[in-house]
């Protein structure tokens, strides 16, 4: 099975080209002006935005996906992509809340479990950093082996981990 770094590359680092996002935006605006915008159109546009590499796009995607999510249907899908979006913004506790709600609905959902694994890894890493403890560049691996070296200061640790 895929390890965390490979999963992250596949699930999180899977950016779509700018041209595709622009095309989706054009379509969205056109439908909006015609007054024929459906939830499907909103979802598709929000998905494109969330798959962007740019934070402003991702934030816009969250706001559209978030509105859809309140409407009640297809919650699972919206929550999954919201979790993904928050992860990309490094807002891991929001990501965790969303992915937990998906897992609450479908405890055996393997996609949700994969994403949860990534989110938990980041939260654990942040906790270690907050404690001012960091071991080398491969933080998680090092933590597992138990060869933790204490390097002072959260700022230094943050720099290393990014």
């Amino acid at each position: 099975m895929a390890d965390n770094s490979e999963l992250e590359k596949a699930i999180i680092g899977d950016f779509i080209p700018l041209a595709m996002i622009q095309a989706a935006e054009k379509e969205y605006k056109k439908k909006n002006e015609e007054g024929s915008l459906t939830d499907q159109d909103r979802f598709s546009y929000a998905w494109h935005l969330i798959k962007s590499r740019y934070k402003d796009d991702i934030k816009k995607g969250i706001s559209i996906m978030g509105e859809l999510c309140q409407d009640g249907t297809d919650q699972r899908d919206y929550l999954y992509f919201l979790a993904l979006a928050y992860y990309k913004l490094e807002e891991y506790s929001e990501a965790e809340q969303c992915i937990n709600r998906v897992l609450h609905m479908e405890p055996n959902n393997s996609q949700a479990k994969d994403l949860k694994k990534l989110v938990s890894g980041k939260i654990q890493q942040d906790n270690l950093i907050a404690a001012g403890v960091v071991g080398g560049a491969a933080l998680v691996g090092a933590a597992a082996v138990g060869t933790l070296a204490v390097i002072g200061g959260a700022i230094v640790a943050k720099l290393i981990s990014k």
Binding site: M1, W47, N108, N109, Q111, D114, G141
Partner: protein, 220 residues
């Protein structure tokens, strides 16, 4: 991550496509984990899985994108076709409608992948022979007419599941050996393994064949 040399020579990218509920995710999990998931939820967008296989003495890593069949994901999943070396196109032998939709899936596959992409047609749920709605002969004829590889399989029993993934890899590998795949071109869905020199995780194939020789400078 950078621990030890890579133990494979190539990466092949696959996609799995077809109507919702035909068993795409079950095929993936049967292949990667040798488990049947009886209550598999509908896929959200795409799911990712990997496994290393051996073809002609070469270790090959398969990176598999299992797409959602639900109609509303169709626009979303189309973006995953580009750069697939193999496409597994699945229908359910007990549901005729899933077979009837194959021409539309095939059109997408042909339009959105490259000419060398190997397309394998899979009639899934072969364990449910009593409820069969599509004959083997009929599907075989369709496959032959369209130049597709074809097998019936069961994600439940595991029957033929290995074969469809590995036969596809064999065919891709053969295309490489025949010189039909330019390893430096983008979007072929085939990559040489990342050079085993350790260091950064940059996986751009730098072009020459020598980078695939094993037993080079050992890291660690």
């Amino acid at each position: 991550m950078a621990s030890g040399p890579y133990n494979y020579s190539y990466i092949f990218k696959y996609i799995i496509i077809g109507d919702m509920g035909v068993g795409k995710s079950c095929l993936l999990h049967q292949f990667t984990e040798k488990k049947f998931m009886a209550d598999c939820p509908h896929t959200i967008g795409v799911e990712f899985g990997t496994r290393i296989v051996e073809v002609s003495g070469q270790k090959i890593k398969l990176q598999i994108w299992d797409t959602a069949g639900q109609e509303r994901f169709r626009a979303v999943t189309r973006s995953y076709y580009r750069g697939a070396a193999g496409a597994l196109m699945v229908y359910d032998i007990t549901r005729r409608s899933t077979y009837n939709h194959l021409s539309s899936w095939l059109t997408d596959a042909r339009n959105l992948t490259n000419p060398n992409t190997v397309i394998f047609l899979i009639g899934n749920k072969s364990d449910l022979d009593g409820q069969r709605d599509v004959t083997y002969e009929e599907a075989k004829t369709f496959a032959d007419e369209n130049g597709l590889l074809f097998l019936e399989a069961s994600a439940k029993t595991g029957d033929n599941v290995e074969d469809v993934f590995i036969e596809t890899a064999k065919k891709i590998y053969q295309n490489i050996q025949d010189g039909n795949v330019d390893l430096n071109a983008a979007d072929t869905g085939v990559q040489l393994k990342p050079s085993a020199s350790g260091g950064s995780g940059d996986r751009k194939p730098t072009g020459n064949q020598s980078s695939q020789q094993s037993g080079g400078k050992g890291c660690c």
